[in-house]
């Protein structure tokens, strides 16, 4: 056991690797929560997580109703047309009630709070994207090596 295990966390780097609504929000809530507690926070979007910072897609993220046991519905029902849109609408409504902002507004909030937002270079290259595809809050497109450099001395959280 490390002797300094109870030292407060002062810095977090959060990786968001999924593009579904329920895949994106936990990372955003944790990053914003870190800033609220006065910690340094950065977000690193990779693979389908890039959807959350893409101008064209960030306002249209959906809840996965297929392959998601948490939905508690038979897979065949989840596959019905409109089911994902319905579940997404319900989730938006419930989140608004507890003051969780939509993805775009949430990213603005984290950015304005001093959190840093990055896109993963390998994923950007794989999907043939460039900086102009992303919302203005994205600071840079960085490699995994740069991500580790920026995370020095902090905790890395993969979501």
């Amino acid at each position: 056991m490390s002797t300094n295990s109870e030292e407060p966390i002062t810095k977090v780097s959060i990786v968001v690797s999924h593009g579904s609504l329920e895949g994106v929000y936990p990372g955003l809530i944790m990053a914003n929560g870190a800033r609220m507690e006065g910690m340094e926070a950065s977000l690193f979007f990779t693979f389908f997580g890039l959807d959350a910072i893409m101008e064209k897609r960030m306002d249209k993220l959906k809840v996965a109703t297929v392959g998601n046991p948490g939905m508690h519905m038979p897979t065949i029902l989840g596959a019905l047309p409109g089911m994902s849109a319905f579940a997404t609408g319900m989730m938006h409504k419930e989140m608004e009630k507890i003051d969780i902002p939509p993805v775009r507004e949430f990213l603005e909030m984290i950015h304005d709070a001093g959190g840093e937002i990055y896109a993963c270079k390998a994923s950007v290259d794989m999907f043939h994207l460039s900086k102009k595809d992303f919302c203005p809050q994205v600071k840079d497109i960085i490699s995994v090596g740069q991500f580790y450099e920026k995370s020095a001395g902090g905790q890395i959280i993969f979501t």
């Binding site: 914003n32 929560g33 609220m36 507690e37 003051d99 902002p101 909030m109 304005d112 709070a113 001093g114």
Partner: protein, 105 residues
């Protein structure tokens, strides 16, 4: 329960170090807590946040979320973090004599 002498009064604190009794709070107590928290001078902009938080707490029994605060107090996110570095919601609540906020947003 821990006590502390602030602005010439002996005040009870809760487990988080916030004022235990809201009745103990006044503007000189706020200024004394602020200086402990590294804010030597409370400006009108600090007061806008603190007073909004106190009014919301009075109304709803809990501190507002940062989102609600920035939408309704006239102080935006950037300014809020500049006014209260190292945790705006917590700091403003502490200075305002309110319990530590429990919300996640």
């Amino acid at each position: 329960m821990a006590t502390e002498v602030l602005a010439g009064k002996t005040l009870e604190l809760d487990a988080d170090g916030h004022l235990a009794n809201r009745a103990d709070w006044n503007e000189s107590v706020a200024a004394a807590i602020a200086s402990q928290e590294g804010i030597p001078l409370l400006t009108d902009r600090h007061w806008a946040v603190i007073k909004y938080m106190r009014a919301e707490f009075e109304k709803n029994g809990q501190a507002p979320s940062i989102r609600k605060l920035t939408k309704e107090s006239g102080v935006d996110t950037k300014e809020l973090y500049a006014l209260f570095p190292k945790g705006p919601a917590k700091k403003a609540a502490k200075i305002g004599g309110l319990p530590k906020p429990v919300g996640c947003i």
